[in-house]
Symmetry: C2
Subunit: 233 residues, 2 copies
């Protein structure tokens, strides 16, 4: 018996890991994420987000990185805290109360390819999640997707999915995959170039079946808020 007054409390760290992959049916890029099959009760044999108990000697984000890498072998380039889920009834079958601090992560396409899936790990398109997940993880995934879709419109996070050098068409396809809708290539180009989040490498892609596109790289930082109400000097 521990010294806790009531029910035992567990602090866990989980991560929603996003990656961009072609859909097997359509060939279009979509969001995928890895799920881990639970081997213990509660929710044994159900799919769940990768995660684990907080490592008491590391920061929250470090714990997220560690548990994520241990279970899925991925090392994302972009990691960001999403939300802390801690309702008392979020894991009714569990013997203890679990508070989960959830992160979301973006995996680069080129790193993806060398990933060998670990046991009990499967990647799925976000729109085709298999069955109800363990705990409230369905809710968490839904929330993460919504937030990613919102954030991509005012922040250059889509770059985190791409390799060091990419064409504007690559970037546009990443946006289209996240937002799940087509974007006008011409207008997309104008917008991206005007916001200064990419810089020209001077080189072009070769071996394409069409006019070779210019190669760009992510510009070093440009944190900005999207303000609609402007100042009055």
């Amino acid at each position: 018996m521990s010294a806790e007054p009531e029910q035992h409390l567990v602090l866990a760290v989980s991560t929603v890991i996003f990656s961009l992959r072609p859909h097997p049916d359509t060939g279009e890029f979509t969001l995928w994420l890895p799920l881990v099959r639970r081997i213990r009760e509660p929710f044994k044999n159900r799919w769940a987000l990768p995660g684990g108990p907080l490592d008491n000697t590391h920061d929250l984000s470090e714990s997220a990185k560690r548990t994520m890498h241990e279970t899925t072998r991925v090392q994302p380039r972009h990691l960001e805290q999403l939300y802390a889920f801690g309702d008392v009834d979020r894991s009714p079958q569990a013997p203890e109360r679990v508070v989960s601090i959830v992160y979301w992560a973006l995996v680069r396409q080129d790193e993806d390819l060398q990933v060998v899936d670990a046991d009990n790990v499967e990647w799925h398109p976000v729109e085709e999640i298999p069955g109800p997940l363990a705990f409230d993880h369905d809710l968490i995934v839904r929330y993460a997707v919504d937030r990613l879709r919102a954030k991509v419109t005012y922040s250059p996070i889509a770059h985190a999915f791409l390799p060091d050098e990419f064409s504007l068409a690559d970037l546009r396809r990443a946006y289209e995959a996240i937002l799940n809708r087509a974007l006008d290539p011409s207008n997309f180009r104008r917008q991206i170039l005007s916001q200064g989040t990419v810089e020209d490498t001077g080189r072009r892609m070769t071996g394409t079946a069409h006019r070779p596109p210019k190669l760009y790289r992510s510009a070093p930082q440009s944190s900005r808020y999207a303000l609609t109400i402007k100042e009055n000097p």
Copy 2:
């Protein structure tokens, strides 16, 4: 001795409580927040954010409401989770590791007036926080202010500071206090009315020393994201 393998872990819930009050010097409205003087080590006698350990029988937001009300007597209308702070070195002097799930809250002006400050609680303008706060609370306050300023530009949260009925000038002064800059009355009016977050009550304010302004109330919901990249049908 408990069963924890390493250092003991404490999960706390804190709240940054914002209120709008005239600055004693200038008379202009600014953001204020309540601070609580610590009566125990670590950081004894330093100012800190209101909060306390997670109540194991309640949700996170309920715990935030409870600790907030117990210490400061306020019952805000708007409560929102800000961030979970859990770096291992954020409270070096403390005997245990503390992970804080921090909320921020907006207090209505009219409720403010009936607040009798409890012992060891003082309200301060956010730009004049007294001395270094306990733990990493200076960082947390800074983060909360930045996020409030960003959010007010794309979400109608400023309404939470106002009573049920208010003039557009009241709302504009709330925005000006949060953003800390003047806004053009005419353009502000056009923008607010066009976004449909307020509705006309049909009545006007009386007893003013000028043309009586119309009274508005907050419109029921209109959650919308500020999208800059539009669809391509």
